[in-house]
Amino acid sequence: MSADNGHVLRIEQLVAGYGDTPVIRGVDVEVPAGKLVVVVGPNGAGKSTLLKAILGLVNITGGEVMLDGRPITRSPLEDLARNGVGYVPQGDAVFDSMRVRENLEMGGYLLDKALRAERLEQALELFPDLRHKLKRYVGTMSGGERRMTAVARAMMLAPRVLLLDEPTAGLSAALTKMVLTEQARMLADRGTAVLLVEQKAHAALEQADWAYVLVQGEVAMSAPGREVLEDPDMGEVFLGGGSGLLADAEPAG
């Protein structure tokens, strides 16, 4: 694909990891506007590390991260937030001891008052369930509501690209579906570029416009979500461990 036409986020030959051992070994990823791109792969494949590398939270030893064609490699997290990269970290990405409204207002910390009120209204339109819970402390809410608050918080800055790190971890099957369809999918449909890292591959692939399968820090497959889902080898990748795609895998049953 040529230039950066349409690609909000572009990662080229990224090598990154902790200390001296690379976990990500030369990965290319492209996230166009208005598309939901998912990264799936077995445990330990480096999915979360990939996100952290984009955000400058781990040691990058090679490659580039580009936002709208400008390099943002190794930028500090707060600068990325100012430049249109939204991030929802894994686990509890909320301020527990604060109310829902305060969480959202923090999300719009950089905005002036009028714009913040406007965005708050937009966020509540996206997540109407939160409207009646603005005064609740996030620490007292259920897992699904907390994830919703976290995503709504990240949307306050109207990011060009939103990075979601396993937003469904620890949620039941029904809630997982809700988070993926009513949050990730919907946000992409409304024009945000969404990069979703997900352990629950099946559910995520169903929603994905494009999918990258990460195995041992390298992209093993890159295709539309449906195609990955229907690929006969995929079951093997997940249930057969990291060596699943390689030739020496043992026949399954």
Binding site: T21, N43, G170, T176, A203, G235, L239, G240
Partner: protein
Amino acid sequence: MVYIGTDLIAAWGLNLEFGVTGIPNLAFIVFVACGAYTYAVLTVGPAAQFGGAETYIIGGHVPAFFAIVIAVIVSGLLGVLIGLTGLRRLRLDYQALTLLIISFVASGIVGADSNIFNGLDGMSLIPDPLQFVSSQSGRAWLYVGVVAAMCVFSVLLVRRFTGGPMGRALRAVRDDEEAAIAIGKSILGLRLLVQGIGAALAGLSGVLLVGFIGGWSPSAWQYVETLALLTALIVGGRGSNLGALIGTVLLLGAFLQGVQYLPTIGRPDLIFDLGWVVVGGLTIAFLFLRPQGILPERRPRYASGPQLDEPAAATTEPAAGSAGDDDRRARRQAALSAVVAAEARRDPAESYEDVLVVEGIARSFGGVHAVADATFTVPRGAIVGLIGPNGAGKSTALGIISGFITPESGRVTFAGRDVTGVPANRRARQGLVRTFQLTHEFSRLTLLENLLVAARRHRGETVLGALAGRRYWHAEERVNLERAHQLLELFSVSHQANKLAGTLSGGQKRMLELMRALMLDPKLLLLDEPMAGLSHAVSELVEQACLSLRDAGVAVLLVEHELAAVERLCSNVVVMAQGTVLIEGEMAALRRSKEVQEAYFVG
């Protein structure tokens, strides 16, 4: 000379606590004072003429020798007592703050009491323990001799604890508490022991000082005195007895005592006050520029290990085709089995069928059920896999089994005994050994020491054993050393043996976890993702180690995401999802199971 000597004794005591064991004892001077006061209170006669108190209420006139012994013991006991209250498992700087306040307040208490300690006026006319020597100068010289002898005695005593197996265990506690528990060390026991010895030495230092001066005032033991000692350690090199010596002589001897001989400028005491300013600046400079001190902690170097009978076990041999590969693999398997089986504990007399029985364990964190009613068993000498998607509760289950996490309900039975309430370190000593998913190494011990410290029931790790010295535990140490070297050889990391564990690569740390666990001679080994991030060749080694353990009758519970490996190794596989056991059976059958596929795929 006497001052330097008493400071040295105290510095070594503090080095044992802070440098080696990592106890941030900012109340150390309290124990010095405790020794001094105890001695003074016991020896001062009734109706001594010091100000305020007309008759002295205790007035023991206890003979000096007994007074010294009692003073040292009382200090030691106070150390243990304060250790019990102050050293709970809080963050270390929190402990330090608590101890600092104890130091503040202790001088307040004593200053406030006028009956026993004579308040802020302090004690005077304390008898010299060497009263029997008539000549004044002879007495002073003899005193120097006594203090010198006590110094030698102290350093020999401290070395028994800072060197050898005991020192290794203490440093392990300092470097990583969780891992120290996992290899069966009693954190509280070791800490209290050290606290007791350190405080006793502090007491001795106080007694010698007060006996020499003949008086004692509360202003002599402000908290800054502790910090001066601490600085001596930081400057000299914490963890090193010689470093403590250098730091003490340089800082306390040459400098703080030295300023007294400088000409007075301005008002009296100005030089002394400026002295503290310089010492403070010096400490901060060292924290920035050379945090390890002038003389960093020494890493014990052991001679390189004895070669195995079959050097082919090393991976240096070129892999010549698959036949050579198989051959190499077989030989390595044999070598591994020899190492493991040599120490494997067989209890033929014991009657249990399953080495581990887990019944209905449950635990939730913040309203989320991490493990909810999980039940499964591990038969003797079997390798059982525990798999499931992220967040299924595998690691929590492992934590409950090994005793690191307290279950809300349910029971864990190990080797026929209910261990649900048994602390984690005792479980490890009984042979229920775990490894960690995120590696926990003792970063300031060498790789080899990391293995040695795990050896069970080392004679040198008891108080008496440590006191008895090298000859008492030497033979055992040699056996352990040989074993450790064999393991290092088998895992092809012999060349790293004397490297600090903190500087190893991620994969090497992971192997360290496994080797350290093997040193404990487990009956049941809990492996938490031992192959994550390892190369193919090394993963194969881990697999071979599991097989050797099985052949030696040791059971393994394997949490692993490399399902191909799980299939090769495990007779039975337990699948967990959402905190409960979903299904169990053979891996090949599970692969076809719709439930498992959904658990992994849909989540």
